[in-house]
């Protein structure tokens, strides 16, 4: 049954093709069933494949399937072939599972939109491309999925194409990520030139053989791959596209810009961990980038007014945690945070979508409030999501994953203490901005009257995700709390286990966990203090003055947009202002010269026959004279 693997990406693709060609002729109900059904069957297939995979699991760590040879010429052999191991199975499970829930949710959320079929077509295409990305056996096929998800992201951000700003946001997302993709592609060129192969496993085993740790080429390739990952995962310095990407419909933000696509960078680095292990300096860079991004994004999230932008910045910040974990070599911790994050962030986005839906597409949190009683389902699920994101201890999944990351940072031999403190501060900020949202949106007086609780198709996924956001964390619990290691045992077959500093013991782990708990609770408490209506400082902070320079700086994501505008965008527009070809000017000049010469010569053409006769005579005489000489 494991040979059904190829069906997993093909099923959503079939859905896409059906919707693309016959979408116009299907009823809404049929569209939704095709759209959700294709992803749902993919999820079921995943379950079947996974069952088969686990049957033989520890003995046979990976499963390889080649459909056909994609490129097979002149020393290059690349197949359309799938590679299933613990890591990709995890990704596939998340993509199909969360993807299915979001599809179901969208069936109701998008119900009144003109482009219903188009929406599901794009979403199905996205799922297919994302599955290709994670299942790819070779880097070229991975690149196919990589670009494919980029395209779908572009299409879905610009889904409401009549708004020019949305189009700009979509283009921005595609172009910024394309810069990363290009670096990634150059990395592929180098790897292929060196190892005559693009198979992920082969390349890495050859790299380990050929390159010593810290060798130049390994560093260069790792940096190039990192740029690619940074672009996709919206990390510094290519993070600017993600907040604008919120222009797309909310389920898109949930699926693409929270749960799956933006974590592709994490997947890439984890997938290429042998390579990154050869470049320890690059790993440090990853850790620092992750830390800086998580702090910048978290601080920006605190002051955003648009509910989706808050979540966008929080996504950047959470992916920053994953990068941090990758940077310190805690591969499994990063993936664990990916798992919990995709549950609670998808939940948060969907719940936010539910809020937006019932408030008639109002996204400004200052125009919300008091929704607790009107939208109880939404409130409770949102609360669970926010709690998980802030890492409320013991009961939420976010706590276990974040704790694991911070513990790894604390105990890793390739980390520094200040990184840990930074991450801890980030955890505090996470609590602050998560609960700022809760208090702003669900407490206080009602500013916009909601239309009422959404229907079953939207509530169902919310509840399932809320359940997951609470329970997924129990897959991995630290020594101090039960010592469950299901997740790390499972992933240890695909990723190396985290190294610990010598001499670290359980008591220090308990102390560290206490610090994380305190930080998260401190953040929540601060949020309550500052934003809970009726509390001490709320009146002073309620009419947050947004024109203060530091506030604008924070709201604009630390001014990166403006910086890039000055550095790249404006020079580029200056460069492309004139549609004229300078080389063509040269030829035109030649033509003008020829024309004027011709004009000058044509004065000799008087039209007088006698003049012509005379010139003939003179010419003849001159020729005769020439012969005479």
């Amino acid at each position: 049954m494991i040979s059904l693997l190829w069906l997993i990406p093909v099923l959503p693709l079939t859905g896409f093709l059906l919707l693309a060609f016959f979408g116009g002729r299907l009823s809404r109900w049929q569209i939704a069933s095709v759209g959700c059904g294709s992803v749902g069957t993919a999820a079921v297939t995943t379950a079947i494949v996974a069952a088969d995979f686990f049957r033989t699991f520890p003995d046979q760590e990976s499963y390889h399937q080649t459909l056909w040879n994609w490129i097979d010429t002149s020393g290059m052999t690349v197949g359309i072939s799938w590679y299933l191991d613990a890591l990709s199975l995890l990704m596939v499970a998340v993509i199909t599972g969360v993807g299915f829930l979001i599809h179901v949710y969208s069936a109701e959320y998008m119900a009144h939109d003109d482009g219903y079929a188009r929406f599901f077509a794009y979403m199905n295409l996205f799922v297919s491309a994302m599955l290709t990305l994670v299942l790819a056996d070779n880097l070229l096929l991975l690149y196919l999925g990589w670009e494919g998800v980029g395209l779908c992201s572009y299409l879905l951000i610009g889904f409401w194409y009549r708004e020019p700003e949305y189009g700009t946001a979509a283009q921005k997302a595609f172009i910024v990520t394309r810069i990363g993709d290009t670096a990634f592609a150059i990395g592929l060129f180098i790897l292929f030139t060196q190892f005559a192969s693009l198979s992920i496993q082969q390349v890495q085993s050859r790299a380990v053989e050929a390159w010593p740790v810290g060798s130049n080429l390994a560093m260069i390739v790792a940096v190039l791959f990192l740029i690619g990952a940074v672009g996709k995962s919206a990390q510094l310095p290519l993070q600017v596209w993600l907040p604008d990407a919120m222009a797309g419909p909310t389920p898109v933000s949930a699926l693409i810009h929270a749960a799956t696509m933006v974590t592709a960078g994490v997947y890439l680095i984890a997938r290429m961990h042998h390579l990154f292990a050869l470049a320890p300096m690059v790993q440090e860079v990853i850790a620092v980038l992750g830390l800086v991004t998580l702090l910048l994004a978290a601080s920006s999230a605190v002051v955003q007014t648009d509910i989706k932008r808050v979540l966008a910045y929080s996504t950047m910040s959470q992916i920053g945690y994953m990068f941090l974990a990758l940077g310190v070599g805690a591969w499994s911790a990063a993936l664990f945070h990916f798992l919990t994050h995709s549950c609670f962030k998808a939940l948060l986005f969907l719940a936010a979508g539910s809020v937006i839906h019932s408030l008639h597409h109002e996204q400004d949190i200052f125009k919300m409030g008091g929704l607790r009683r009107h939208l109880p389902w939404t409130f409770w699920t949102f609360l669970i999501g926010a709690a998980a994101m802030s890492g409320v201890p013991l009961i939420t999944s976010g706590f276990y994953s974040k704790d694991w990351i911070l513990w790894s940072v604390w105990s890793s031999p390739i980390s520094h203490r200040w990184i840990w403190f930074g991450a801890l501060f980030g955890a505090m900020l996470t609590g602050l901005y998560s609960f700022r949202l809760i208090f702003r949106v669900f407490f206080g007086e009602v500013r916009t009257q909601p239309a009422g609780e959404p229907g079953l198709a939207m509530r169902g996924p919310l509840v399932v995700l809320a359940f997951l956001a609470l329970t997924v964390g129990f897959l991995e619990m630290p020594h101090t709390l039960g010592n469950v290691t299901v997740f790390s045992d499972y992933l240890s077959h695909a990723l190396p286990t985290t190294e610990l500093l010598p001499g670290i013991d359980e008591s220090s782990e308990a102390r560290e966990q206490l610090a994380v708990t305190v930080a998260a609770l401190l953040g929540i408490g601060l949020a309550a203090l500052l934003f809970l209506p009726g509390s001490l400082f709320t009146s002073r902070w309620a009419d947050q003055s947004t024109d203060h320079p530091s506030m604008t700086l924070l709201q604009g994501g630390w001014g990166f947009d403006r910086l890039y505008d000055r550095l790249f965008v404006r020079p580029w527009f200056t460069l492309t202002r004139y549609p004229h070809d300078m080389l063509d000017r040269g030829y035109e000049w030649l033509a003008v010269c020829g024309k004027s010469c011709h004009g000058w010569m044509s004065y000799t053409q008087t039209g007088h026959v006698r003049w012509y006769a005379a010139t003939i005579a003179v010419g003849t005489l001159m020729l005769l004279g020439l012969f005479a000489m």
């Binding site: 044509s602 008087t606 039209g607 007088h608 006698r610 006769a613």
Partner: protein, 99 residues
């Protein structure tokens, strides 16, 4: 024995024809001058033929004659057209082909 003076005469006639061609503005005179020049050329051929006792000179004369006939028939047709159109025989008036 007579060929040398005949050649001299040919040159003189040719020069006269050229002078006529260049100096007269009346298109009819220009055609006459052309005929003179053609004749001068024919004379030169005949003289050459006589000098070497060969028939080629006369054959060339025949060709020149043919050429002249064809030329004159077309040229006079053109003269008629031009005079009809421009109401003048002034060759300088027919300068629509100038650059």
């Amino acid at each position: 024995m007579l060929s040398t003076p005949a050649l001299v005469l040919a040159i003189m006639l040719f020069a006269l024809g050229l002078i006529g061609l260049l100096s007269r503005r009346n298109i009819l005179y220009m055609l006459l001058s052309l005929e003179i020049m053609l004749n001068a050329a024919a004379l030169a051929f005949i003289a050459g033929g006589a000098r070497w006792g060969q028939v080629d000179g006369e054959i060339m004369f025949l060709f020149i004659l043919t050429l002249a006939a064809a030329e004159v028939s077309v040229a006079l047709g053109i003269v008629l057209q031009l005079s009809h159109r421009f109401r003048t025989l002034d060759a300088d008036a027919f300068c629509e082909l100038r650059g």
